[in-house]
């Protein structure tokens, strides 16, 4: 546990010293949302509103999460290898990416709501879809960006590997969010919520189980 805390502090420190990495991802997100706003202005259909939001968040997340692994130098990985065990390493990476994605997602959702002034029927389910969708993306991409970095630091490969695997998550998150805006009854929504939680848990657990095999070269 102490090691996880140490890696988390290290990640936060290194990102505060180089704020352009996360700042770049955040700016990418905000400017894409603004482009959506000035090109579309009014979106009468909730489904399109939700789809635009998640497409923008998804592509920003590739930038935010991929940077972390792709920027780790070989020497630093070797150093970490002597200090911590792989489970702690991937767990802390996933927690860190989850937090980053949460901040990005929540800021994006607030800005997006303000720009388009959408009326949300069920606030609780709306925010749970934002939170669980963002953490899910972060967990899945943490493992996949390790795989992509093994194959020679290639962002295209990450997109090819990541998009099919992220689609189930996106489908459930968008349905949950769309229904929340329409104010669909909670009993209908609960099953989507549970599947979303399930996808988060499964991807977190699988990453923890599989990462030790990738770690050693």
């Amino acid at each position: 546990m102490r090691n996880i805390g140490a890696i988390l502090t290290k990640e936060f420190k290194s990102d505060f010293r180089n704020p352009y990495v996360l700042g770049g991802a955040g700016l990418f997100l905000l400017s894409s949302l603004f482009v959506c706003y000035i090109t579309v202005k009014r979106i009468p259909i909730a489904a399109i509103w939700v789809a635009l939001f998640w497409i923008v968040v998804l592509f920003a997340s590739f930038n935010a999460v991929a940077k972390s692994f792709l920027s780790e130098t070989r020497g630093r990985m070797l150093y970490l290898y002597t200090l911590v065990n792989p489970t702690e390493f991937i767990a802390s990476k996933m927690i860190y990416h989850g937090l980053v994605m949460l901040i990005l997602g929540i800021v994006a959702a607030i800005v997006y709501q303000v720009l388009f002034s959408v009326v949300i029927g069920d606030n609780l389910m709306f925010w749970s879809s934002v939170v669980l969708g963002c953490t899910g993306i972060a967990f899945v991409l943490s493992l996949l960006s390790t795989i992509a970095s093994k194959a020679g630091n290639n962002l295209t490969l990450l997109a090819v590997l990541g998009l099919p695997i992220l689609l189930p998550l996106m489908l459930v998150a968008t349905t949950l969010m769309k229904n929340a805006i329409d104010g669909i009854e909670l009993s209908v929504q609960l099953k989507y919520l549970f599947v979303l939680i399930g996808l988060n848990v499964v991807s977190f657990a699988l990453s923890i189980v599989l990462f030790p095999y990738l770690w050693r070269e």
């Binding site: 493992l143 795989i147 194959a151 020679g152 090819v160 099919p164 689609l167 189930p168 599947v195 599989l210």
Partner: protein, 219 residues
């Protein structure tokens, strides 16, 4: 991996039986479906075969990570390839069927989209394999991706269509074939067909494995 001769004879007999009986045996006469109901013997069964091949690939990937034997990596790769072939057959037969019963080749349906995405995930597996030079690294990383993709795919293909409305038979309140097959004539072809296609899949995989092994020995 060497299959006994009886296995191959069974595969030939069952597949020939499926082809002949599937086209000639009586089927329930129903409006709209008409003779397209015979697609059951080729469409549904190829999905069964695909899932079996992917399960085999999944177990060989796990076996590879535990033992680090090259053989298991090759087998996982081959089972994915053969599974893809069955997947494409399943997709094409399904599209033909949809054209004559629903009116178009593709409709936006959770089950159809799930199948397409599952195939995309396995195409990505092929891309991943080809992006490595080092054999050891390729085997390890692609085994990890295969396990991850399989679990996420199974969640998608099996759970999601059951949650939403779907046009597909067997989902969203539509009857599957058991609802039509009242006197069990279709079962007499369907179950042998499932076994026949799966056995054929194993046989193709075995031949591919032997070719791969021989070409490795040569080089």
């Amino acid at each position: 991996m060497k299959l006994p001769i009886g296995f191959k004879i069974a595969a030939i007999v069952l597949v020939i039986y499926t082809l002949i009986a599937g086209l000639l045996m009586p089927v329930p006469t129903l409006a709209i479906l008409n003779e397209t109901i015979r697609n059951l013997y080729y469409h549904v069964t190829s999905w069964f075969a695909m899932i079996t091949m992917f399960i085999m690939a999944f177990s060989y990937s796990i076996a590879y990570l535990n033992t680090q034997k090259d053989k298991y990596d090759t087998l996982a790769k081959i089972f994915v390839q053969v599974g893809m072939v069955f997947g494409i057959i399943g997709l094409v037969t399904g599209m033909l069927w949809a054209r004559f019963t629903w009116g178009s080749f593709w409709v936006s349906d959770p089950k159809l989209n799930g199948a397409a995405i599952a195939l995309l995930a396995y195409l990505a597996y092929a891309v991943l394999r080809n992006s490595f030079q080092d054999q050891l690294q390729r085997a390890k990383v692609s085994a990890v991706y295969n396990i991850f993709a399989f679990v996420m795919m199974i969640l998608f293909v099996f759970i999601l269509p059951r949650m939403t409305d779907s046009l597909h038979p067997g989902n969203g309140g539509n009857p599957a074939f058991s609802g039509y097959d009242l006197d069990s004539t279709m079962r007499m072809v369907f179950y042998p067909a499932v076994i026949g296609w799966i056995l054929l899949g194993f046989w193709i995989s075995e031949i591919r494995f032997r070719i791969e092994k021989l070409s490795n020995e040569e080089s």
